[in-house]
Amino acid sequence: MVKSARCGQVVWLGEAAVALSPDESGRFSDLLKEHADGLVARWAELVGAGLQGRMSRPELERQTRDLQKGFQQALAAGARDLKDEEAAELRAQLSELSSHRARQGFSANETAISVFALKDAVLDVLGDTDDINTLRAFVSFSAFIDRAALFTFDSYVRVRESLIADQTEQLLELSTPVVKLWDGVVAVPLVGTLDSARAQVVMERLLQTLVDTGSPYAIIDITGVPAVDTQVAQHILKTVVAARLMGADCIISGIRPQIAQTIVALGIEFGDIATKASLADALRYVLGQKSYKVVAAKRTER
């Protein structure tokens, strides 16, 4: 809530303010150059306070100095707005900064402040002034920084989103382990929502493990699935059929009472597929099968 309110405020400033005049660009470029050392020190100090020691001082100063140069050069080249051709380099730098901060786990606020703090630093350098032209110029300059901060915020969000998408994919892989439960018996404990993407991963994993281990039995455990609807049921049925085609028998376990009643009301039939209340029941069932004993005997003979 706080973030979006802040973000909205920035947008408003950005739209309402005017671009820098050529004269103002020049003036601020000179100012940034002239007071470079003092500005960088003050700026790094302000940003550092927000990051609370999670970034080393030398690294922070180096980053800040690079940014200071970026702003100074963009303005010296005549950039009046962040959109301008002359500010292309600066934009690249800001994207780089956001991506760096996002990957290191800094928040969007902390990242935007790295840019916003330049305002305070400049204000400190300007000191007490009642020169109306300087004040007017500062307002335009301030709007320029707002847009830079907003741009940084935006690229930060984009980087975060792609990071999250990557992690989701990894989680997908992680959350569908196929384990070898016993000699000749593999198990897939399903947890959470079994959407089509995950169902596909589960099926592929299971079939691959059946091949790799040469197991004739697979147990699909649905204890962790909160609801079994027709889509989930269809995915399970397809997996069972595919496993059968490879010569393996599937048992479905972990059918809790509420799921059992829902499945019945829904009208789903698991046909001749063996179903058990718990994983332990399913394993006991497999081990008790005549065919398992034959398989096990053959395996030990080998």
Partner: protein, 134 residues
């Protein structure tokens, strides 16, 4: 009669998951039994997916309701899709035009206490279901 209601747009698979979560939350708040919670969540999952797949998307509205005797949950699934031409056929177990099991619509009807469909060719489909607390 309605105490509060919450709406969720249905435009993606993610939204169907969101509908399920919302219905689960409201079912817990309304103190539905675990079996009834599971039944209602499952029915909502079916109908929301139909809204998405056949209705081309729409919205779901979940509200707490109460009559003279009992409290309950009412869920509306609405789309502006093609509508259902032959309702009897669509409600037949195993009938599907989308390669499913053909149990979603008929099964959902068995999972709830009240089930009302308003649909006409070209007019979209609105399904209202109610589950009462026991």
């Amino acid at each position: 009669m309605s105490e509060e209601s919450r709406q969720v747009p249905v435009a993606s698979d993610q939204d169907v998951v969101r509908v399920r979560q919302l219905v689960r939350t409201v079912s817990v708040e309304a103190k539905l039994s675990l079996v009834d919670q599971t039944k209602l969540v499952t029915a909502a999952s079916e109908l929301a997916r139909n809204t998405l797949v056949y209705g081309g998307g729409g919205y779901v509205e979940v509200s707490r309701v109460r009559n003279e005797i009992r409290a309950g949950i009412r869920i509306v699934f609405a789309d502006q899709g093609p509508g259902i031409v032959d309702l009897d056929l669509a409600l037949t177990d195993g009938y599907t035009t989308g390669g499913g099991l053909g149990l979603g619509l008929s099964g959902a009807r068995r999972l709830v206490d009240e089930f009302v469909i308003e649909t006409a060719p070209g007019e979209g489909t609105t399904i209202t279901v109610t589950k009462w607390c026991r």
